[in-house]
Symmetry: C2
Subunit: 193 residues, 2 copies
């Protein structure tokens, strides 16, 4: 093992690529745009990551890692189950309303754009969903045991219903980025638990 050392930090490049893909989607992102966004030349990019598709997969993995980390941090706080579930939704609203962030959730978009065409993308997204579903189910169980949540439905079902509400919120946040609209969704979703 020898040769010229890399002149960039692979993690930083993936982060930069993530930003580009996040903003323009997979099909809407060109190799040219990736070079400009990362500061690397084509040679370096292709030598290090192989192809646009593989770089996208790494960028999506990074996005999901960061997202899961942030969401689990919220769900692990020392607070009531109800407050934590509300906090997660409000975190989603903040992301949807951020004016510096004229772009939808990269995960959502990758599901609709790439899940059917890229098996690796599908695996990344499936793994993320499994993790978040498992944590939410634990939380619903905890809430039921503490008497915070209704017990006429299994925790699994509560978790899945909440997930639908959450992703629906994220989608509608793209169409109707109005706090009042999104807050109605949160209040309704929480009221039924």
């Amino acid at each position: 093992m020898s040769g010229r050392p890399r002149q960039f930090d692979a993690q930083a490049v993936i982060d930069a690529a993530m930003e580009v893909f996040w903003q323009h989607g997979y099909e809407g992102t060109s190799a040219q745009a990736l070079c400009e966004g990362t500061g690397l030349g084509r040679g370096s990019l292709y030598n290090a990551f192989g192809s646009k598709q593989q770089l996208f997969e790494q960028a999506l993995r990074r996005y999901q890692d960061l997202g899961l980390q942030a969401q689990l941090e919220i769900l692990n706080r020392d607070d009531s189950v109800r407050h934590r579930l509300r906090a997660l939704m409000e975190w989603g609203i903040t992301a949807d309303l951020d004016p510096n962030c004229q772009r939808s959730c990269m995960a959502l978009r990758s599901v609709l754009e790439r899940n059917h065409q890229d098996l690796v993308v599908k695996r990344i997204n499936d793994a993320y969903l499994d993790r978040i579903e498992r944590r939410l189910t634990e939380l619903m169980t905890e809430g039921q045991q503490l008497g915070e949540l209704r017990t006429d439905q299994p925790p699994r079902q509560l978790a899945r219903g909440y997930m639908a509400g959450y992703y629906g919120l994220r989608v509608l946040g793209q169409s109707r980025p109005e706090r009042e609209f999104l807050t109605d969704i949160v209040n309704d979703t929480l009221a039924r638990l």
Copy 2:
């Protein structure tokens, strides 16, 4: 007004274009694919519709018209409010699980892909959402008056919560096309009303 008459039915062409865009998205659809899908030559397509973007807008409008029509038909049935709301969600599940239909909801995808970049697309999607929200709000009001639904939340909020559940269902249907998973979402969403 004279000249050679068109040798195609504009509506049929828009329907065919809708199918192509539905399957491949906006960026993933080429003029070539549109010609093959519609049977028209490039000359005719551009002469009649102006550009790929304008054709997409017409195709999306058609998609939303058909979708709204089908959904309102369900919501206007002679049945209990609860049954009608459940029927709409089950209609969504059927669409998500249809194996002949390896494609996500065109409306969802157009929101994430094009809402920020094409004002006309945004207007089409906004109009659709307004219509469906209005109808759902009426339905929630009706359900409350009949004593079918809880009355501790305003109908507007119930409608918006249901919408989030519905679109979350459609998104998750792309990632987890399993009847059991989606049925949990329906049961949970309905149980809270």
